[in-house]
Symmetry: C2
Subunit: 207 residues, 2 copies
């Protein structure tokens, strides 16, 4: 059932979790599971699993449950994880370098294809298999490598300018690690990851 309205990020994030859980089950040789069992094992809600899946079709067998391999396969397609997205990382400070080595950024579904930093002492350095490039090459790099997602790991002050440059160069999505309120481009999917906000949330409850 292909509804016309967009899928909520919350649902999407849970689909990622379901898929990950299913893969773990595959590794343990499990071939069939009910929403209840899945929920119990991974601390999820069985109704929510079914509702989330319902947005995309019928994947289970009534009275029986889900075929683990089949469902994992469908979720993989659904999330677009069967093809490989190319990433360009802007900013190779401490965080940027850690992200560059992060396995999730170099898996079957995602691959880091370019590194950019403005600092002359960093340009030319090799990190993993890539060499840090100057910002002037940004647009060319995106065109040459076919990068679709930009990872912003620059300091707060530089965030907006780099975001704008990415948008201008035709990037399609940005994962922003800078603690800045970006003026976003409507053509660019943008998602913030902000540790400080998460920390402050935890801190609040400790009072």
């Amino acid at each position: 059932m292909t509804g016309t309205s967009e899928v909520s990020p919350l649902t999407l994030n849970r689909l990622s979790i379901y898929l990950r859980s299913l893969r773990q089950l595959q590794d343990h040789g499990v071939h069939r599971i009910s929403s209840k069992q899945l929920a119990d094992q991974f601390h999820l809600s069985p109704t929510q699993i079914r509702k989330d899946l319902a947005q995309f079709g019928e994947f289970g067998i009534r009275g029986v449950g889900y075929d683990v391999d089949h469902l994992a396969g469908r979720l993989t397609e659904l999330l677009g994880l069967d093809s490989c997205r190319r990433l360009i990382l802007i900013g190779v400070g401490n965080l940027g370098r850690a992200l560059a080595h992060y396995v999730g950024f170099n898996s079957r579904s995602f691959r880091l294809v370019a590194l950019v930093d403005q600092d002359p002492t960093k340009i030319g350095r090799r990190i993993g298999e890539l060499v840090v490039q100057p910002p002037a090459r940004l647009a060319d790099l995106i065109r040459e490598t076919g990068a679709e997602i930009g990872i912003l790991a620059v300091p707060e002050e530089a965030a907006q300018a780099n975001y704008d440059a990415l948008a201008e160069a035709g990037i399609r999505a940005v994962l922003n690690f800078a603690p800045a309120r970006l003026r976003t481009d409507p053509h660019v999917r943008t998602k913030d990851v902000d540790f400080r906000i998460n920390l402050e949330e935890l801190g609040y409850y400790l009072k």
Copy 2:
């Protein structure tokens, strides 16, 4: 108005953003602002700002707006950022080391006080001002340093065991960077940060 029910994380996260925005205004010498102006400058919703603040009292002046310094001060208290929370970091791989250097983890409101890793080749190494300690010392470290928040930056397989050890040792909150579904302890505030989920969300929309 001290309502009895708990504040939602969504509200809390926005309060962090408001505070950050106000501090930027302070740096620019702005002393008074309306919810409308604040919203315009930082891409927020004016009604939501007012509703969020309303949960904690009346901070503005009708017909006038908010005193920037005063509101910033109240939010700082409210979020508990006037005192300093001590953090213990578990796992000093790529991500862990980046986090150790992350300024937000060593600010006025948060301070990293201990590092732990299980890898014998890492134990004893100095990172910043701290020396990496073995897991056996975890409980002692938490007691000695008064650490309240644990940062989990270990591989997926090790996440649950380390979480349990932190909970057992009396930690009050955990910020988990491992891509694992943790069985959480009801006495420990737990928050997940998962880059892969965020990436996959962006990836979905690119299909």
